[in-house]
């Protein structure tokens, strides 16, 4: 037969050669960039459509700037686009004086109208963090009216849901807060030049911002690539597809898996982290057997070895021994709380109690939390509590959470610095909602006292009381204190954190 081995060798040889050729081509097309920084990010930036749904992170610190920022270390609200402000009507009205001469990336001036336009986007949507109304007093003065006289009102103005100030030209029809976002224009260090939904966004330096600050842009392009899957993002960094991974740390998901940071570091990648007032906790279903019993809640707190849990993350996070927040949070150190790991005590409490089937639910969209939950399950098993672990898809987790169909769940309190106050509002204040983590007459009363207080020193005292009350009632079982992280290739320089956000205006990439 003539179709012989020779032919076979010929064909396979051809195949192998072509594949090899393709892979060489692959290598050749890989560009070595010096003036482009590629960021791997979990979410689409949502720069079209509803302007209230713009992604919570990157556009809001690259493209947009906020009126004010929050500094956790001093517990102060600090100026940003606003130069200064007056609090009127006992706190129900805040009047901001804006900085002058700030230009949008299209060259138009940022003024009170732009601020009103921005916040009207929330007002018309009756958003839960929206002010009641926004008034333009003159070109550079704008007033916000609120229903309650709370210091929380400041937090609302710079929380994640609140927006950075954008040009009314960003939407169509122009200036209509109900309009559709077509081209996000802000005052921040970068401007959007290209946006492909679900794939990437290209940002370039905003000339006006750099002129104003007297800085020199060191990169020409910032590309934000959307890579929804956490593992793929890490692989992308490893394979050189992206230079930097940054977290979307709003709601406890879509971040660089913490348990991979060490491996990345070992392989030469740089890891920047910053502590944030963000804590992973076990939430008790405190309205239901058996965790309506304070003793049982204490037993869980005794049973959890927080050091072991932190080991999952190879030391990138701190074990949550001293209360609901890390010590740098206002009042936390002074509260002087210390959780105890004492499995014997836990056993004693549990012993002889008929607790029935206990379910622990966890949102499985993060591999980290699945690991944490499995370890918690094992630790509780060691003290005689048999736990049924349910790893749930995001939606079902929410649904079970909302219906109260669980005993324990893995959840988080706090967040980035600027969401700190809002999270206390979201987690501890009435009205009762499924996403609240613990409410009792005592704790709730103390939490309200915190967000009402305008005076910093008094507020600190109230914080301490609130922390202590929560600890006494064993309201939650804190596990570990989260960080915000940036993982970058070794040749990336100049990314730094401001508050809890990575900033790129002085970033460059070495050849």
């Amino acid at each position: 037969m003539r179709l012989t081995r020779r032919d076979f060798v010929k064909y396979t040889g051809f195949g192998a050669a072509s594949l090899l050729g393709m892979s060489f081509l692959g290598c050749m097309t890989k560009e070595t960039t010096k003036d482009t920084l590629i960021i791997g990010y979990a979410e689409d930036l949502k720069l079209r459509g509803d302007p209230a749904k713009i992604d919570r992170s990157i556009p809001k610190f690259c493209v947009l700037e906020r009126l004010i920022e929050y500094d956790l270390s001093s517990d102060d609200f600090v100026p940003s686009l606003a130069k200064k402000w007056d609090v009127e009507s006992g706190g129900k009205r805040i009047v901001f004086e804006l900085k002058k001469g700030i230009l949008f990336s299209d060259g138009a001036e940022m003024d009170a109208n732009a601020v009103k336009f921005t916040y009207d986007i929330l007002v018309v949507r009756k958003h839960s963090v929206a002010p009641r109304s926004v008034e333009v007093i003159d070109d550079h003065t704008v007033a916000f009216n609120f229903d309650e006289a709370w210091v929380l009102n400041f937090a609302k103005l710079q929380d994640v849901h609140g927006l950075g100030v954008m040009s009314p030209k960003s939407v169509k029809p122009e200036g209509d807060p109900n309009g559709t976002l077509v081209d996000l224009i802000g005052t921040g260090p970068f401007k959007v030049v290209e946006y492909v939904e679900n794939q990437y966004t290209v940002l370039e330096p905003n000339r006006y911002w750099f002129e104003q600050t007297g800085l020199e842009p060191k990169i020409k392009k910032l590309i934000v690539k959307v890579i929804p899957d956490e593992d793929t993002r890490v692989l992308a960094l490893r394979s050189g597809e992206v230079d930097v991974l940054i977290d979307n740390y709003h709601g406890g998901y879509d971040y660089t898996p913490r348990n991979q940071l060490s491996a990345l570091k070992k392989d030469g990648f740089k890891i920047l982290t910053k502590n944030i007032p963000y804590t992973w906790i076990v939430v008790f279903n405190y309205r239901k057997e058996p965790f309506n019993d304070i003793e049982m809640r204490r037993a869980v707190n005794y049973a959890i070895n927080r050091d072991e849990i932190a080991k999952i993350f190879d030391g990138w996070v701190r074990p949550a021994w001293n209360g609901m927040f890390p010590p740098e949070v206002p009042g936390m150190a002074e509260a002087n709380i210390r959780y105890e790991y004492n499995p014997e005590k836990a056993k004693e409490i549990v012993n002889g109690k008929d607790v029935g089937e206990i379910t622990l639910i966890v949102n499985k969209s993060q591999s980290d939390q699945i690991l944490v939950a499995q370890l918690v399950q094992q630790q509780l098993k060691n003290v005689g509590l048999n736990i049924k672990l349910e790893t749930l898809e995001k939606g079902v987790y929410k649904q079970k959470r909302n219906s109260g169909d669980y005993n324990l769940r893995i959840y988080y309190i706090g967040g980035s610095e600027r969401t700190f106050y809002m999270r206390i509002f979201w987690r501890f204040l009435p009205p009762e909602k499924p996403w609240k983590v613990y409410m009792s007459d005592n704790v709730t009363e103390k939490a309200i006292a915190v967000v009402k207080e305008f005076d910093k020193t008094k507020r600190r005292q109230k914080f301490i009381e609130f922390y202590k009350a929560l600890y006494e009632e064993a309201g939650v079982a804190p596990l570990y204190y989260e960080v915000v992280a940036v993982a970058e290739k070794p040749n990336v320089e100049g990314i730094k954190f401001e508050y809890s956000e990575p900033r790129f205006y002085s970033t460059y990439v070495k050849a």
């Binding site: 037969m1 003539r2 179709l3 081995r5 032919d7 076979f8 064909y11 195949g15 594949l19 393709m22 892979s23 081509l25 692959g26 290598c27 097309t29 890989k30 459509g49 509803d50 749904k53 839960s128 939904e197 679900n198 794939q199 890579i227 929804p228 899957d229 793929t232 692989l235 992308a236 490893r238 394979s239 050189g240 597809e241 969209s365 898809e393 995001k394 939606g395 929410k398 649904q399 909602k433």
Partner: protein, 311 residues
């Protein structure tokens, strides 16, 4: 011939109806209220009663199941699957966006697989029971046994992590295409190789091949002019049938390599609970499969002279 086409086309209607019922019912296995999900998914806020009510009326969710089904079906056959629950776009727009990306992966795989499957299949059949045939057969069994997601990860480990030769993920350039195509080809080609081998062997066992050999034809002519020419009829039809993989054909490969095609879209939509998209994908892939079956039948009629010239 025309009558034959018409009859076959009519025959697939009940099947398509069946598939539409299955895909439509996906949403109605819900004990709860889909309207609530829509509100949550679309607005990202806790649903209020009035919002839910509004959505319910807007989407016709207040009507009886059968009415809703026929509404859905009558739109679906026109390619209108409603609006995505998570994006402000129609389902069709979402799908059409991803289709070319899937198509790129599919056609690259398809082309390579067809060529190599033919070569391997012929070699294997011609050298039946020799070493090379055993290798081909073991390969074709391995091809259907080795999970593509594992193979993909192993390839990533070799080519991306260890050798830094190829990107582990990404889309739309040649270098991104290589690993996913390689991974998919491994199984795709295996099935095809097996089929080519079996078809050719069947033809080689037929009497006309003995006639051809008895004529003293060189084996090359016996295989290529006689047997393969006949075997090509089932092979071509079978290969065209696999065109249905165009829609959601390579879920695992797409997921492993984060290839933003329709397979990934399906999985994402499942996780995001964007059920209109899931419905549409199930329906469309089913319809494509049925249609390909029909096309293949007709193709058969076209390329086989027995049928072409038959009465």
């Amino acid at each position: 011939m025309l009558r034959y086409i018409a009859r076959r086309a009519l025959q697939i209607i009940p099947t398509i109806l069946g598939i539409s019922i299955i895909s439509f019912s996906l949403l109605y296995i819900f004990p709860g209220d889909p309207a609530e999900f829509i509100v949550e998914a679309r607005y990202g806020v806790e649903p209020t009663q009035e919002m839910v009510e509004k959505i319910r009326i807007e989407m016709g969710l207040d009507k009886p199941f059968v009415v809703q089904y026929f509404n859905w079906l009558s739109k679906a056959v026109r390619g209108d699957f409603g609006i995505s629950w998570t994006e402000d776009k129609t389902v069709m727009e979402v799908i059409l966006e991803r289709l070319p990306i899937s198509a790129e992966l599919f056609f690259a795989t398809f082309a390579i697989s067809v060529v190599f499957a033919l070569i391997l299949g012929v070699i294997s059949a011609v050298h039946k029971d020799k070493a090379i045939d055993h290798i081909c057969r073991i390969y074709s069994l391995l091809g259907i046994s080795i999970p593509s997601f594992w193979l993909g990860l192993i390839l990533i480990w070799i080519f991306s992590v260890q050798l830094h030769l190829l990107p582990a993920f990404g889309c739309c350039e040649l270098k991104h295409l290589i690993l996913p195509v390689l991974t998919w080809c491994f199984s795709f080609m295996a099935i095809k190789t097996r089929f080519v081998r079996a078809s050719l062997l069947e033809e080689l066992s037929k009497n006309y091949v003995i006639t051809a050999r008895a004529k003293g034809l060189p084996e090359k002519l016996v295989v290529f002019r006689h047997a393969l020419r006949n075997a090509l009829i089932p092979i071509i039809t079978y290969f065209s049938l696999s065109l249905h993989h165009l829609i959601v054909g390579s879920i695992m490969v797409e997921v492993v390599f984060s290839w933003p095609g329709l397979g990934s879209l399906l999985v994402e939509s499942v996780f995001k609970r964007d059920f209109p998209v899931v419905q549409a994908l199930v329906f469309l892939s089913g319809v494509l499969l049925i249609t390909m079956n029909l096309v293949v039948d007709l193709l058969y009629a076209v390329i086989d002279p027995r049928i072409r010239y038959g009465d």
